[in-house]
Symmetry: C2
Subunit: 267 residues, 2 copies
């Protein structure tokens, strides 16, 4: 079976793209169509310009069983060659984490997921054990609250580093199978640079470059790994490019623009 890393490489090279579209359907921002219809139209219009799709589970869970049915159908609709990231930011104690890993990778069938590091290794290990799947550990997130704890100066083993840097160093250590990456908000280029210095090889999932107004030039400059790869994820800027019935073609145009801009910056 093709693992996540190979699948990502394949899609990225075939589509010449480092763009992931966040399929986060928000009824208040969407045109007046059902969310499954919306997602299918977006996927049909963009599947040759992306390297991945990312589904944030919140937007589906908020709609209850109907939303989760739409999530399942959306995952089914995505062409098999494009990896699908289930963005759930989970973190729970060992035996519960195993249940979540089963839910994400087996029940929903995602190729990769995001996890929260606060509970430590035994909360992440059950995900990493799925060696054909990708696990992105939250490191420095793109929101204002990231400052509350992630940047605190922490001491361990004689060293003092910001918490998110210690998370990155642990992730590097836990990445024995090559399937562990980090989530780094595109809104903090200085921190991106620092992570790139600490972990030159690690794959980054970089949200916050669209509606959250990250600095794209610096995100590309520091975000790429040794193979000049990263996943730049945009949701609102692409999904809601138009609220009219031309929304799918408008999304395609927005995704193409972002792809070109990243490829130009990447050089």
């Amino acid at each position: 079976m093709v693992n996540f890393t190979q699948k990502l490489k394949g899609a990225s090279e075939a589509n010449q793209s480092l763009v992931s579209i966040g399929l986060d359907p928000d009824p208040e921002l969407m045109p007046r169509v059902g969310i499954l219809e919306f997602n299918r139209a977006i996927i049909d219009a963009t599947s040759d310009v992306v390297c991945a799709y990312k589904l944030n589970l919140a937007f589906y869970e908020a709609l209850g069983l109907e939303g989760l049915r739409a999530l399942e159908k959306t995952v089914e609709h995505i062409p098999g060659a494009i990896p699908v990231i289930g963005d759930a930011k989970l973190g729970d104690v060992g035996n519960t984490a195993r249940m979540y890993a089963k839910a994400i990778f087996e029940t929903f069938g995602f190729d990769a997921t995001t996890v929260n590091p606060y509970l430590g290794y035994d909360s992440i290990e059950p995900f990493i054990e799925y060696q054909d799947r990708g696990v992105f550990i939250l490191c420095r997130t793109s929101n204002p609250g990231a400052l509350d704890f992630q940047s605190l100066a922490c001491s361990t083993g004689g060293e003092t580093l910001p918490l998110f840097e210690l998370v990155a160093l642990k992730a590097k250590k836990w990445n024995r199978g090559g399937n562990v990456g980090l989530v780094m908000g595109g809104t903090y280029p200085r921190e991106l640079k620092r992570i790139r210095e600490l972990c030159p090889g690690v794959l980054l999932l970089i949200p916050g470059i669209g509606a959250q107004r990250g600095d794209l030039a610096n995100a590309v400059r520091w975000g790429l790994d040794a193979e000049r790869k990263a996943i730049f994820s945009s949701s609102r800027q692409i999904l809601y490019a138009s609220k009219q019935m031309d929304f799918a073609s408008a999304s395609r145009s927005a995704a193409e623009r972002l792809r070109s801009e990243i490829n130009r910056l990447k050089g």
Copy 2:
């Protein structure tokens, strides 16, 4: 409308109990019945000996749509006077956190939930804004991995404290509406004592006292708030007291034993 705190107080006093049963149905450990049937039997047998029920979403999500349907029906089956905690440990950026808060409190109808602090205030605020619901912020969890990050010595404003203590102090500050509590594993009595010193008034949700073998005497000694209340949550020790068809009455006996033991220690 009765808010979470009042509902908890009502149930706790009516049932003379600080015990919450974690309804975490694991098909590998359960007798051979469906999970909804299992949950209903446990609820029917125990609803007069508990102060709350806690559902960990992992166990339902692992079973896909069928599991989530069972979750909805389980919540419906719990008597209205008993508060129900949706244990999801969520944490996401602001606009996504709002979607999760909607899912937990409106779609699934939980009275309270657990959240992860790693993303900071804007990831927690949308939950706290539901002033009639309870929000338990993960502080020191009951698992071995808690040591990886939660106990790191962190510096801020001239003070150096373990990360989980800084989380507790922030939670205290964020608790303007009186609906914020903390999750403190029963496996770490020294840390419980410390939290009790820092935040004498805060309500604690204390898992890890059953199968995870916390020290119950110290958990009761240090876990109670100013009103001598706390929520002691046990899942496996109660749910799987018997694997035979007498499982419900065996669970009741286990819950009664735990209730008595806590009440005796509470004095």
